[in-house]
């Protein structure tokens, strides 16, 4: 499966830690715009984000991502001895990227030269976001609003506009983004004779549409699968399987 600029593809991804229970099962997802992950605690949001970012390998399935990915973990560590300016300069050199104005836009007010361990939680989170926004292709953000004040939260929403990003969001900051509810599971529909895949992609509840040889795989929210099947049949598609 080849990746292309600005798109993360997860194909039949499953994950378990050691011999523990499955955290994710057969998840297929295409992230080509702003996508929000929702779901209760323990439904695998952080695991999925780590797999999408390249921190974790899936137990099975395939992941394709562009070269430049920015990642913000759920909790940025609080005991970092390096200063914010040094850290961002180093991360910029590692990425071969120039500086950005994210810190200013988010309203960073701490010392740039003091150890980051002396920063407040909100300001440390702004540094974490600034390093992630050095990435040019895709952002993977795990609860990025954690610790941010209302003004910075609104600014982060503005910064995400037009970007390709996979974001976990409990608080509904990104109302217009595509939503994927991990707690709800999904239905995978295999279709053939698909003449208008774009029409399928636009249907409510459709999470991804992938061409696979002569067939097309459509991943749908469970509560919308009947409507999507009906629409696919109306468009003249043949249904190969529904799982």
């Amino acid at each position: 499966m080849g990746g292309y600029l600005g798109v993360v593809l997860l194909d039949q991804v499953s994950k378990r830690y050691g011999r523990g229970p499955w955290v994710l099962r057969d998840l297929t997802l295409e992230v080509s715009g702003l996508t929000v992950l929702t779901g209760a605690n323990g439904t695998g949001k952080s695991t999925l984000l780590k797999i999408a970012a390249g921190v974790l390998k899936p137990t099975s399935g395939r992941v394709s991502r562009p070269a430049s990915v920015g990642y913000v973990p759920e909790r940025f560590p609080s005991d970092v001895k390096m200063s914010a300016s040094s850290y961002l300069a180093h991360m910029g050199r590692v990425r071969r990227a120039g500086a950005n104005d994210v810190l200013e836009r988010l309203g960073f007010v701490g010392s740039m030269t003091a150890p980051m361990s002396e920063l407040s939680k909100g300001n440390a989170q702004k540094v974490a976001l600034a390093q992630a926004f050095l990435a040019t292709d895709v952002l993977v953000l795990d609860e990025p609003w954690s610790g941010l004040d209302p003004r910075a939260s609104d600014e982060l929403v503005a910064l995400l506009e037009g970007r390709t990003a996979l974001v976990s969001d409990h608080e509904g900051h990104l109302a217009s983004a595509t939503r994927v509810d991990l707690a709800g599971g999904h239905v995978t529909i295999e279709l053939s004779r698909v003449l208008e895949p774009d029409v399928l992609q636009a249907l409510e509840g459709v999470r991804s549409v992938q061409a696979r040889g002569s067939s097309v795989r459509v991943v749908v929210a469970p509560d919308r699968s009947d409507q999507v099947l009906a629409e696919a049949l109306r468009l003249g598609c043949s249904v190969r399987s529904v799982r």
Partner: protein, 210 residues
């Protein structure tokens, strides 16, 4: 890769956890060479034996300098575990080589016996080999191969302690035997090769485990 090495080295230096192994190294070196330490090569055997556990300790410091979460960010920024673990291994080797050079120069300055250039380079090869063995052992049992620092310390301590009584059955024993008998041996180069192989194996094990 150079920018990644610079970042990881700067992070280690900022963290100051490197000070403990460094101070132990300097203290024991001071004791070893406070009086006549014997013939040139013989004198190097003590510092070579010392450098092995110190390099292992330093490698664990380098491997665990970033906490788990910040390491994840670095992995994503750098483009994968293999790049980050290779850079961390390079930093550990770099620190170990600095100590190897210091350990080779120290007796030249303080030991009353005259040192030839040949003696110095044999000593440098011996110290480099022992340092690489130490780095390899340290990285092989540090994060991400073993997640808990307690297990890492126990495993590295056990391997280091068990290495000495095995004598010539280990590459460290080859070096100490050659230096102790005041003779030059090809086994010194063999130790360097085994050390490099061990460091490479540790990087591969880390990438597979991550």
């Amino acid at each position: 890769m150079i920018s990644l090495v610079r970042y990881l080295a700067a992070d280690v230096l900022r963290g100051q956890r490197y000070l403990a192994p460094l101070l132990v190294f300097l203290g024991v070196m001071g004791m070893l060479f406070s009086a006549d330490a014997g013939q040139p090569l013989e004198a190097y055997s003590g510092s070579s034996a010392l450098l092995y556990p110190i390099a292992a300790w330093m490698a664990v410091v380098v491997a665990t300098s970033e906490d788990v979460v910040r390491r994840e960010i670095t992995v994503v920024s750098a483009g994968g575990w293999s790049r980050v673990l290779t850079a961390a291994a390079l930093v550990a080797v770099l620190f170990a080589l600095v100590l190897a050079v210091l350990a080779s120069v120290w007796p030249v300055v303080t030991n009353p016996h005259p040192y030839t250039a040949g003696d110095f380079f044999v000593g440098l090869a011996a110290h480099t080999g022992c340092a690489l063995l130490g780095v390899g052992v340290g990285l092989l049992f540090a994060r991400p191969v073993l997640d808990s620092i307690g297990r890492t310390v126990l495993a590295v301590f056990a391997v280091v302690v068990l290495t000495y009584p095995l004598g010539r059955a280990t590459p460290l024993g080859w070096v100490l035997d050659a230096l102790g008998h005041n003779r030059v041996s090809l086994s010194l180069l063999g130790t360097v090769v085994v050390g490099l192989a061990l460091v490479s194996a540790a990087v591969v094990a880390g990438v597979r485990r991550a």
